[in-house]
Symmetry: C2
Subunit: 140 residues, 2 copies
């Protein structure tokens, strides 16, 4: 029972990401959040007033997919969507949203710390730079 793909970085990247994301999802769901929602809360908390489409560009989420996610967060009373333009919607968290974003941040921190601790020390510092090099969005 041999896996001939085990030497390929892309393959291992996919498998590792899938496993890690499943674990994160199971941790964040106790706050009633999906992975994408937890991320969005962090970004909006750090960038109040950011437009829906700018947020989407930042996270590689397309406008069409951003709409229902943002609407859902608004419907839950976590986020406001204030027309800034006439076409753009500026996003900001409500008090509840800020609180939940903080709780989510604690979960993220714990998860990321656990993850980092699993990496042997001699490889740890190389992971982020290596992954960033694979990630076109940074300089798009």
């Amino acid at each position: 029972m041999r896996d001939p793909l085990l030497h390929y970085p892309g393959y291992i990247l996919r498998r590792a990401s899938s496993a890690a994301m499943a674990e994160f999802a199971s941790r964040i769901v106790v706050l009633g959040l999906r992975t994408s929602e937890a991320t969005i809360l962090q970004i909006v908390a750090a960038n109040p007033g950011i437009s829906q489409s700018a947020l989407g560009r930042m996270l590689d989420i397309q406008r069409a997919n951003m709409t229902p996610i943002a609407a859902r967060l608004e419907a839950r009373g976590l986020m406001r969507r204030l027309p800034s333009d006439g076409r753009s919607l500026g996003l900001e968290l409500t008090a509840d949203g800020i609180l939940l974003a903080q709780k989510a941040r604690a979960v993220i921190d714990a998860f990321e710390t656990d993850l980092a601790n699993r990496i042997p020390a001699e490889h740890r510092a190389h992971l982020i730079p290596a992954l960033l090099a694979l990630w076109p969005s940074t300089d798009d």
Copy 2:
């Protein structure tokens, strides 16, 4: 427009994997294959006779999700499913399947080479060990 999650390995892992997988999917679709199917062709080619559930365990694909994938490959004439047990199905590629697996392997090789070349030399050797450490399936 600040991304406060950019220092987190898990977050970057997700973003990098998502981007890389989208690119791979667009390359492999020209052979009429999905990512999961291309992977399965490689595993079955290297392990003729492997059972459906053993394949699923190897790839972290559950039995219930394996069934339609395997049935689809069989329906396309790429794979045979031979009862070995009475309950188990042993998988092996047809001649067409072997041919397509080889073509897929060439696409995988090219993709993985491109990917590896994007990683700065000083980080390259660390990526796979670091990712393997995050990946529980290896020693499960």
